[in-house]
Symmetry: C2
Subunit: 434 residues, 2 copies
């Protein structure tokens, strides 16, 4: 993509209400613009990252056997009356009436809707187990939206729902999602701490939250240092034994930790850090299948209420969490897995036709090799171009300038390390195409 | 995908309010389920088609130089007060207040929001021309939603917005979108008739609607038969000359046609058919840039209000239009470009381990070759499997049964023609991988 034809409004100033670094950097790097309190438009660069995060989440859901569908954003209040949650849900639910005075709402979650869909379609044990998911915009009317997309009102969530015949099946579905979550966060370059959670308003018997460690997190965590020692490789290849290892280690949110009479972790092994909640999984059994009258026939002709679980990932929030975990003073440092472009190609002298024709050729070769590159072909000062590339945080910068070209070289800079190398054009292309 | 692990609730009966064939078939084929009046959940098979349509639309937008972003669904009423449209827009706009009593709405379109974003980011002629688009869910509170996703309330729309320095530039941006639309509809296997349209509430000077010919269309069209003679190949390679050719031919909606004193087309060349509106493009000049105070500096230091256009495609409605245009008594016939899977693989005897192991092997080889296949591995009667495959309309059916295997063959059926052929497994795989 040529920057001269793109829409990338980077800025130097950020509004006073942008307190945390990810919020500031998302505005500065032209990823998002606020359009109302807690509501953001995703500018082209931000959308590319969002889609990449979404794709990692999707791939791991699919690997876990979950099937993707898409439920609408607007729901009928009647659905929520069936489960009894309509009156129980607080002012975070955005409620309205349509032109016929029917009560509707902007979905904050989808337990009721998926239960109704599954109930009306599935009658036999042969159609279970099944886990369905969707990645859709949700709305929660936070009283005080803040921290940019981390606690916005309109946000993108992946929510999955499992249906099993018995508790043993539910446990397997829950573990499959637990594994998918560990892999997902590891692929996104994040260290996630699974914390045993109280089940709260969704109800049920078993629940874990997944927190990303960051000083700006809203939760205070207390956990065994051994959790940090689980390697990224182990998490990428997570299985049931990884879950057993992790859930065998102490990890609590402050409120729950305070209730523990005697902490099983010695003081020198107890870590206290702040965390950002990016995932939450629940096994809640028959709460919705019973209240909403969903039954399936068993193999011996009986009828049971399926055992259900729900599994959420804050897709848009993850973008903030990744930036909190990976940035420096100059800007964002994207992990390769979610970088909006792999390479930022800088033409140092757009007014010099030799440099421009060399840079154009490099750009064409990168495109031919299938390497996503953002090409700064604008007639601007080199310093401004460097600052833009640093703030938007692409993994590699490839710099084409007149001095280098005289020597037959270009400069390759790795954003994360700051390391710079002079290479022939061919070597640089080979490195980036690898 | 193995059907035994998928979620494909096909049905025989459809509700009485499903009057048109696409609505009936979308329900029967398990593509969607209604969750409230005019609001649908996209089941896994339907979502796959929706994403493929979306991708064709996206690719043609990108080819036309438009840049993708994503605006939120919820908008502030204040934005619409800036343009003066808040009070003008009727009861189709879904309005509500948030918990702080701020007036909000579910966006039916995005002229105001994109104008505000562009206004706040762009100050110089050097950043123009630019066309931005997004593909996002919209809500229009139809008084009587009907025809399934064709006139639903929550629907997926691609809307693009162009910004130019002068009218000449706007004309170029308009033509680039006109070309993108012709190509998009041709790639989707649809014959689209561009109709000169009155500009209506969006305002402006130039507008065209794109209609798909179908007996169940809501519009009555009068047009020169020569429009039907433009070949698919010409539309796939459309350019400015194609536009000149098409817009030089008479085409009007009934209401406008009635106003024409003397129709320029002779009676034997005048076609009257019904059409489904799937696209609408507008050049409206400075309507929003002036009312919302957007100016950019020109190269000679002056200030101008950019010339704007907006360009919509009904992405979810297109699914209905494609089915209206491509089905038979047995079900849907998907064009290859949007088929949810390319091949339906049928195991005729899931209770026979020889047949099953042969079918499993074919499925594995299709997967290895990157051919999307839906594998009916369920223990059901062959007749039910054929009926399911016919109604869901995958382009090819590959049938593995005991009699064929004795002869060393499988059966390949083309859904569109009904043609069946016995082939060796290798030949069938080679045909499908082509």
């Amino acid at each position: 993509m040529r920057l001269s034809r793109y829409f990338l409004p980077v800025t130097k100033e950020t509004p006073a209400d942008a307190q945390i670094v990810s919020h500031k950097l998302m505005l500065r790097a032209g990823l998002v613009r606020q359009t109302a309190a807690g509501i953001y438009a995703w500018l082209p660069l931000g959308l590319r990252v969002l889609r990449k995060i979404e794709q990692v989440v999707r791939e791991e859901q699919n690997k876990a056997g979950a099937v993707e569908m898409l439920m609408p954003t607007v729901q009928s209040a009647d659905l929520w009356r069936q489960s009894g949650r309509y009156d129980a849900y607080g002012p975070e639910m955005l409620r309205f009436t349509d032109r016929h005075e029917r009560e509707m709402l902007f979905g904050p979650t989808n337990e009721e809707m998926i239960t109704a869909i599954f109930r009306d379609a599935v009658k036999s044990y042969r159609d279970l187990p099944r886990t369905l998911y969707h990645i859709q915009w949700k709305f929660r009317d936070e009283v005080r939206p803040r921290f940019g997309v981390m606690r916005g009102r309109e946000f993108l969530m992946k929510d999955a729902y499992s249906f099993d015949l018995d508790e043993e099946g539910l446990k397997r579905s829950y573990e499959a999602m637990f594994v998918a979550y560990l892999r997902t966060f590891a692929r996104l370059g994040l260290q996630a701490v699974p914390v045993r959670a109280p089940t709260g308003p969704i109800g049920g018997t078993l629940s874990h939250e997944f927190h990303i460690l960051a000083d700006t997190g809203e939760s205070a965590l207390f956990y065994d240092a051994a959790i940090e020692e689980v390697s990224r490789e182990e998490l990428l290849g997570a299985d049931a034994s990884t879950i057993a290892r992790l859930t065998g280690l102490y990890a609590m949110e402050e409120e729950e930790h305070a209730k523990v009479a005697e902490c099983p972790v010695s003081a020198d092994r107890l870590r206290t850090r702040r965390g950002i909640e990016v995932g939450h999984i629940f096994a809640f059994g028959t709460k919705y299948s019973a209240s909403m009258g969903m039954t399936v026939q068993t193999s011996d002709g009986g009828q049971v209420h399926p055992q259900m679980g729900s599994y959420g990932v804050g897709v848009s929030r993850l973008m903030g969490a990744i930036i909190e975990a990976s940035h420096d003073d100059a800007g964002i440092i994207w992990p390769e897995s979610v970088a909006p472009f792999r390479v930022g190609l800088i033409n140092m002298r757009a007014d010099d036709c030799n440099v421009t024709s060399a840079a154009d050729e490099v750009y064409a070769k990168l495109s031919d090799a299938g390497v996503d590159a953002l090409y700064d072909d604008r007639d601007e000062r080199g310093g401004a171009k460097f600052a833009t590339m640093d703030v938007i945080g692409l993994p590699w910068q490839l710099i084409v300038g007149p001095k280098g070209l005289e020597k037959g070289v270009v400069e390759l800079k790795q954003r994360a390390t700051g390391e710079r190398q002079e290479l022939s054009i061919e070597s640089a292309l080979a490195r980036l195409s690898a």
